[in-house]
């Protein structure tokens, strides 16, 4: 194990995959000499040069479409869309082209494309640079979706994504880039579709990802002092979703709360709730609950954004209510 930041986990994964396969190349805005706006490709241009680490124009449609065309013809491109919100600029390329190419051609080709995007709020970027964009793609079959919350997952899921023969969207939470944690020195690839039980408990199950995973764990520690035993599950990938681990946990606790930093409508939490209700209705002692952002765009002012995002206090309060019912 080595202690790395989330950002260093990303850089290490990219460097190792560039090293092991010449067909892997990075493309994106300022990913080269500048090392990426979030410094998540820092040093790779110097190591691998402009043939492997390519700066692009500010052209998200060209970036994603080019990655798709290159993947069908033998490369394994890793594209960066700087802020995940910019997926709106190339929504057609992701939702209509990348996701559907294999299906519409009757499986004539595989599409090994990874798209990395900086996701999430809490750092004052306002409504167009702060969203939890993974939710936009839940209704698009053909895309795998990774939402790493720790340095080990940032590293291990990215490696798995690059080796996968399908389009994989990897959402890196911008507030987590400086966070630190252990990363395995060997065998660190994290299989897609395997949830992690972050904290075991018997009274209720909390499902959370990325920043909310950490806040959920903090809230669980608070409740532990009150004698409430909370289990925290991080699905780590939303597609494929490890429903089995979630259902097992709910079978034990009888209570489910999903904590997410997005509005509730059309969210991954709503999808998990629907799936658990369908699969494990008998296990539930109480209706499941969503702890979400508000049904508004994300506001800029610090006090407003703090109120918008589920805080440790708010999460703890909701969990306390659920435990008491």
């Amino acid at each position: 194990m080595t202690e790395l930041t989330y950002r260093e986990g990303v850089i290490r994964a990219l460097g190792e995959e560039l090293e092991r396969d010449d067909r892997v190349l990075l493309i994106g805005e300022d990913v080269g000499a500048a090392g990426g706006v979030f410094q998540a490709t820092a040093g790779l241009f110097d190591r691998f040069g402009p043939r492997r680490v390519r700066d692009t124009p500010i052209s998200e449609q060209a970036i994603v479409g080019c990655a798709l065309g290159a993947s069908v013809t033998g490369l394994r491109p890793v594209a960066e869309i700087m802020f995940a919100d910019f997926a709106g600029v190339c929504f057609d390329q992701i939702a209509n082209q990348l996701a559907k190419y294999r299906y519409m051609t009757g499986g004539q080709a595989s599409v090994p494309v990874t798209i990395r995007m900086a996701n999430g709020g809490g750092v004052g970027f306002a409504a167009q640079h702060s969203q939890a964009v993974e939710n936009w793609f839940l209704n698009v079959p053909g895309l795998k979706i990774c939402v790493p919350g720790t340095p080990a997952d940032a590293y291990g899921l990215l490696k798995a994504a690059i080796r996968d023969d399908n389009p994989v969207l990897v959402f890196e939470h911008k507030q987590l880039y400086p966070s630190r944690g252990p990363v395995p020195d060997e065998d660190g690839v994290v299989e897609l579709g395997r949830a992690e039980v972050v904290r075991t408990g018997s009274d209720l199950t909390v499902v959370a990802t990325q920043l909310m995973r950490h806040r959920a764990v903090e809230a669980a520690e608070v409740l532990a002092g009150e004698g409430i035993d909370v289990e925290v599950v991080d699905p780590r990938t939303l597609v494929p979703l490890d429903l089995e681990t979630i259902v097992e946990s709910v079978a034990k606790t009888g209570r489910l709360v999903c904590v997410q930093e997005c509005p509730p409508g059309g969210s991954w939490g709503a999808t998990v709730v629907a799936a658990v209700v369908e699969e494990a209705w008998e296990s539930l002692d109480l209706h499941p609950r969503l702890v979400s952002g508000d049904e508004t765009p994300i506001p800029y002012a610090g006090s407003l954004e703090d109120a918008w995002l589920p805080s440790v206090e708010r999460i703890a309060g909701e969990l306390r209510d659920v435990a008491a019912e």
Partner: protein
């Protein structure tokens, strides 16, 4: 290259006609005829309600796809639009399996999952027909990036309509291809209409090749109803690309003899326009050229026509007879 009173410049020397070229010339004519008869069959099947959704026919534009694809070599790749039956056939996709795809059959190129607007046959380098305007131009740049990265020497050709020059993906792709000097040939089929709207009402420039100046890209206008002119222009663009000199924008002037899609009768066309273009039909024009140059006799050309018609009819009969896809197949191919 084809002598034609309609073409500005009149009789040009026919440099393409060399003794050994007879096979090639007749093959170009055969392919154009097959596409023409194929589209007539698609229309007929549509009227019988055997083709679902919509379909976008290629009659009148055959010289572009056939001339261009004949200038490619093995390993080169092609992408096109939802008006793509002709281009996919020009790459060498089998008539029967192409028709079967349009009919939604299991034997179709895509197992019946794509249909008329998404014909794809990777085995002949036909990487896809794209139904969102302009979406394939970044894809074509990506295929060229692979060729450049892997050093295969392949070129990537993309066909698209005049309307595509107004969508963002066009500009993003052309700029990227120019900046990275990618081996791509962008072939704009200017058929004068973007869906129902005449070009001049939607596009600020008259010559679409003017767009190329924005990307410091080589560009050329070509008579898109002259199969040899298209072949020659694409051949030059391919050599340019293989030399590492980057992309080319070609504007092929042609005409859509049918409406935009099945429901469009083309009422917006000014009187006389269709007739004028029918007189420049690429197939009858090339027939004239073949007889005038002594390449083939009237009898031989009539036989070629009959044979093409029969081949298409037989392929269509096979396709119609093939079974529907198994219902479970709809769950296949979402992921690898």
């Amino acid at each position: 290259m084809i002598s034609d009173d309609e073409t500005p410049g009149g009789h040009e020397p026919v440099t393409a006609v060399l003794p050994g070229d007879r096979t090639l010339l007749l093959d170009l004519q055969r392919r154009m005829l097959e596409i023409r008869f194929f589209e007539e069959e698609v229309m007929r099947l549509f009227m019988l309600n055997l083709v679902r959704g919509s379909t976008h026919l290629y009659q009148g534009q055959e010289a572009v796809a056939v001339g261009a694809c004949s200038a490619l070599r093995e390993g080169d790749t092609m992408t096109c639009t939802y008006r793509g039956h002709g281009a996919v056939l020009a790459m060498g996709a089998p008539l029967d399996r192409t028709m079967a795809e349009i009919l939604g059959k299991a034997e179709g190129l895509c197992g019946g999952k794509g249909g008329s607007m998404h014909l794809t046959d990777l085995s002949v380098g036909a990487l896809g027909s794209f139904a969102i305007v302009g979406a394939h131009l970044p894809f074509a740049a990506g295929a060229a990036l692979s060729a450049q990265h892997l050093g295969t020497g392949a070129v990537s050709i993309a066909f698209f309509g005049d309307g595509t020059t107004n969508i963002g993906a066009f500009h993003e792709a052309l700029n990227l291809a120019a900046v990275w000097k990618l081996p791509v040939i962008f072939v704009c089929e200017n058929n004068l209409y973007g869906e129902y709207s005449p070009l001049a009402s939607t596009t600020a420039v008259e010559h679409l090749t003017d767009r190329a100046a924005s990307y410091a890209m080589t560009a050329q206008r070509v008579d898109g109803n002259d199969v040899l002119a298209v072949r020659s222009a694409v051949g030059a663009a391919a050599a340019h690309a293989r030399d590492g000199k980057g992309p080319t924008l070609l504007e092929a002037l042609t005409y859509r003899q049918k409406g935009h899609s099945r429901t469009d009768a083309g009422a917006y066309r000014p009187p006389g326009e269709l007739e004028e273009w029918l007189a420049r039909d690429p197939i009858t024009r090339f027939e004239r050229f073949l007889t005038e140059t002594g390449t083939a006799s009237d009898v031989e050309l009539a036989e070629l026509r009959e044979r093409a018609e029969a081949v298409v009819r037989e392929a269509t009969e096979r396709a119609v007879a093939w079974p529907e896809p198994g219902l479970e197949s709809r769950f296949d191919d979402v992921f690898a």
